[in-house]
Subunit: 144 residues, 2 copies
DNA sequence: GCAGTCGCAACGGTAATTGTTACGACCGAC
DNA sequence: GTCGGTCGTAACAATTACCGTTGCGACTGC
């Protein structure tokens, strides 16, 4: 499957901003977060831009610009982040319509769709169970 | 995320072979299955080849060659198929190692790993709950 | 006005999947 | 023993998503 790290990087960025703010800073720059995540600032800005549209973070421009949390980490779940990233479905149907003259071709998509919907629902419940505050707590609990 | 249809096509193929065998036929050809799934026979052979390595189907060569089930559909779950396809992890970590000098950079991967492992475990349980016989039953229950 | 940062477009690189062609290997029928 | 039908597999192009990078305009506190 796709090895996509967007959720991981987004969680990394939010945890970083949250910790930085706890240390008394107002805003964090994409440059700082990118250094911690070992990637490019534009990648961080792109991701945080999506989180901003979902109301999870805010950005300030001009001198002393940067990013801050729009909500407490305690009220933010991994599901909120996951949905902000608008991922496609976990499993896809056929790329072309199967043969509608065939019994299996006609019935397979409704059959699989119901299975897939149940699985995605369960996935969302699991993601909703974990807050970003939980993530940051686990991060800080890691032995050095 | 990745819109990959491998699990869907594999389930389609297995349901097709299972139904065909119930109708009294010995083997199904990749050509027939490809017609039903509206794709190329080589795609089907590649997929079924992976299922064969996992012991789910068998293939015969020569004249009258084709594919048959190695086990009853009732004993085959979507988890068996999923694992036969050896999908990568649902969520990936950073592509490059995060900054180990940073507290978040050090702790984020263990923290996310434990979340992701729980989710994959749940996914497997859901897939294990559905047999291919269930899928075929649902397929046949679809109104025409 | 200046400096620092975001916003965003553009482009190339990488990787996975899918579709396609080609061809050798196999084996039952004749 | 040849033939025809099918699998097994390699090779390649096309597509897609994501990632990394560069460049530059927009914004704002000083």
């Amino acid at each position: 499957m796709s090895a996509n790290s967007r959720l991981t990087i987004a969680a990394h960025a939010l945890a970083w901003i949250g910790l930085y703010q706890r240390q008394g800073h107002e805003v964090a720059t994409s440059e700082q977060i990118a250094t911690s995540a070992n990637t490019n600032p534009v990648v961080i800005r792109r991701l945080l831009g999506e989180l901003r549209r979902a109301g999870l973070v805010e950005s300030r421009r001009g001198v002393g610009a940067g990013w801050s949390l729009a909500r407490e980490l305690e009220s933010m779940t991994l599901l909120d982040v996951y949905e902000a990233l608008e991922p496609g479905p976990l499993f896809a149907m056929h790329r072309t319509t199967p043969d509608q003259e065939c019994v299996v071709g006609r019935g397979i998509q409704p059959a699989m769709r119901s299975v897939y919907e149940g699985i995605e629902q369960t996935l969302r419940q699991e993601l909703a169970r974990v807050t970003l505050a939980d993530v940051l707590r686990d991060v800080l609990a890691t032995p050095r």
